[in-house]
């Protein structure tokens, strides 16, 4: 009987805390220091202080990247899979558990940084919305890096490039350019990160289906690759 490796969750959480968790803590501390040094200037409509939201948005991106970078590829590059998966453990379920744990870490870290921002901005900062957007953002970017990690050691770097490309194309579109041709196709194909900005309302209806469907497809594809590809490339690798 194949069971999820829940028994290993404690060790997985420990590894996450001692590895990516340190990077996330550093980013979080940096964000909190920035919050404390900024003057609160709220926008006209929401009263949420755009600069704080921009920092939060950047922080969530960094958290998602840190939580998933090298998630699968490191085990395969360093050969750890040989002892891990000689055990009665399903590799797809093992990495799904790790990915979900990464999502939980992103939400906890976002909560801490969000609360620090809320202390400065006040009750107008909608934590529920920020956390919902962070979860959706993780589903997209975390799902993308998870998928990339099954095939490349440079997963996080490609993730950064996708975020940058999406941001650049989004900016160009907002300025009235890149709305047609290859740029428009590329924008449509890339994960819809523009829909899950922490400064924006949580998408609803078709937009929400788009985000969730895209994210689940990425995670599903990652699990399928892990299941279908040989764990080793060579006899000793």
């Amino acid at each position: 009987m194949i069971t999820p490796p829940l028994r290993y969750l404690r060790w997985m959480a420990w590894d996450l805390a001692r590895g990516p968790g340190l990077g996330m803590a550093a980013v979080g501390v940096l964000a909190i220091v920035l919050f404390s040094s900024l003057t609160v200037v709220t926008s006209g409509t929401g009263g949420e202080a755009p600069i704080f939201l921009a920092i939060l948005d950047f922080t969530v991106t960094a958290f998602a990247l840190l939580a998933t970078a090298g998630m699968v590829s490191a085990d395969f590059t360093l050969g750890y899979y040989r002892t891990l998966f000689a055990r009665p453990v399903s590799p797809p379920l093992y990495y799904l558990q790790r990915w979900l744990l990464g999502g939980a870490a992103v939400l906890v870290a976002t909560s801490v940084v969000g609360l620090a921002a809320a202390r400065r901005v006040g009750p107008d900062l909608q934590m529920a919305r920020i956390l919902a957007q962070a979860a959706l953002y993780y589903l997209l970017l975390g799902g993308l890096v998870f998928l990339l990690s099954t095939v490349s050691r440079r997963d996080w770097l490609i993730g950064v490039l996708v975020v940058a490309a999406h941001g650049g194309l989004g900016l160009a579109r907002s300025l009235g350019a890149a709305a047609t041709g290859a740029a428009a196709v590329l924008y449509a194909v890339l994960p819809p990160l523009g829909l899950v900005d922490v400064a924006d309302p949580v998408p609803t209806g078709g937009a929400l289906v788009h985000v969730v469907g895209y994210g689940l497809a990425l995670v599903g594809a990652a699990l399928a690759v892990i299941r279908l590809r040989p764990l080793a490339r060579g006899a000793r690798e």
Binding site: R7, L78, G79, R82, F85, A86, R87, A232, R236
Partner: protein
């Protein structure tokens, strides 16, 4: 328990322009309770065979089944006790952490993990290293940790790749005891090694691979010695003149006083030895000149 039928594996480059055959039409059956050695020169296909049996690689021809299941399905449901040739463990794990983690992964109940790890520490002599990081361990200690992590579960499939590599003579001897202790009716033990003498001591049979092909399967151990005539060396003091009469095939070993080469089956040689001792000879040493496995290995690799 292990059924390998016409197994083949060819590595291909990304676009298939370059192919490297690693296994070719290998057929082998390993029964429950058996210890089977896998020998072969470098690049013979031993590690590829092991990778397929653990479900890390997929064959390009034939099939492998373990207890009727595909290897990956078997390993994911029941686990394997596997010692890789190069032990990949994170360098910052301590010995104790590594064992506790692997006990957990192997399905040892949570309340028994600490006791199981402690048992392995004692069994493999890791007491003084339990708090050390993996990166601080010597080659031999790391190998013992590898054995400990491999054996911490209770799998019926044990696969050890070069298990005595790096072990000192004391631990090499201790390893023989460990393998004896591991034997049980439902368990298959597969040992890949370059050390033919070790395989001959430990295994019931040894599969000899060469250039990806299974050249022959040789029965090893004491029982096998009864079957085929072999060359032995005998060293005798007193009544040495009787040697030529009792063993007509005996030839003196050049440059070594009181040493002869004898060829024969073990039962015949034993009868001759009794006669020799009764005639007043003192047998100082009696041993195979080269093991049958070594001869078979050489013949297989040299194509004889």
């Amino acid at each position: 328990m292990i059924e390998i039928a016409a197994l083949g594996k060819t590595y291909r480059s990304l676009f298939g322009s370059r192919t490297v055959p690693a296994l070719d039409n290998v057929t082998l059956r390993v029964a429950p309770g058996e210890v089977v050695g896998v020998a072969g020169p470098n690049g013979a296909g031993k590690s590829t065979l092991i990778s397929i049996l653990l479900g890390f690689l997929k064959p390009t021809g034939g099939q492998a089944r373990i207890a009727g299941q595909a290897p990956r399905a078997y390993v994911e449901s029941r686990g394997a006790s596997y010692l890789p040739e190069l032990l990949p463990l994170p360098p910052r794990w301590t010995t104790e952490t590594a064992l506790r983690r692997h006990a957990t992964l192997a399905g040892v109940p949570a309340e028994a993990v600490a006791a199981r790890a402690q048992h392995m520490v004692e069994w493999l002599g890791l007491e003084e290293h339990r708090k050390k990081d993996v990166r601080q361990l010597s080659k031999g200690t790391l190998q013992r940790l590898g054995l400990a992590q491999a054996l911490i579960g209770d799998s019926d499939l044990v696969v050890l790749d070069e298990p005595t590599h790096g072990l000192d003579p004391l631990w090499t001897q201790r390893f023989r005891d460990i393998v004896r202790e591991l034997r049980r009716p439902a368990r298959c033990i597969l040992i890949a090694s370059h050390d033919l003498a070790e395989l001959e001591r430990l295994a019931d049979r040894v599969a000899i691979l060469h250039q990806g092909r299974l050249e022959r399967v040789v029965s090893a151990g004491v029982a096998a010695a009864d079957e085929e005539p072999a060359v032995y060396r005998i060293s005798v003091t007193g009544a040495a003149e009787m040697i030529a009469r009792i063993f007509p095939s005996a030839t003196p070993v050049e440059g070594r006083a009181n040493e002869w080469r004898l060829r024969g089956r073990v039962p015949e040689l034993n009868r001759g030895l009794s006669e020799l001792i009764a005639a007043g000879a003192v047998v100082v040493a009696f041993a195979p000149e080269s093991s049958r496995l070594e001869s078979e290995f050489r013949a297989a690799v040299e194509g004889r």
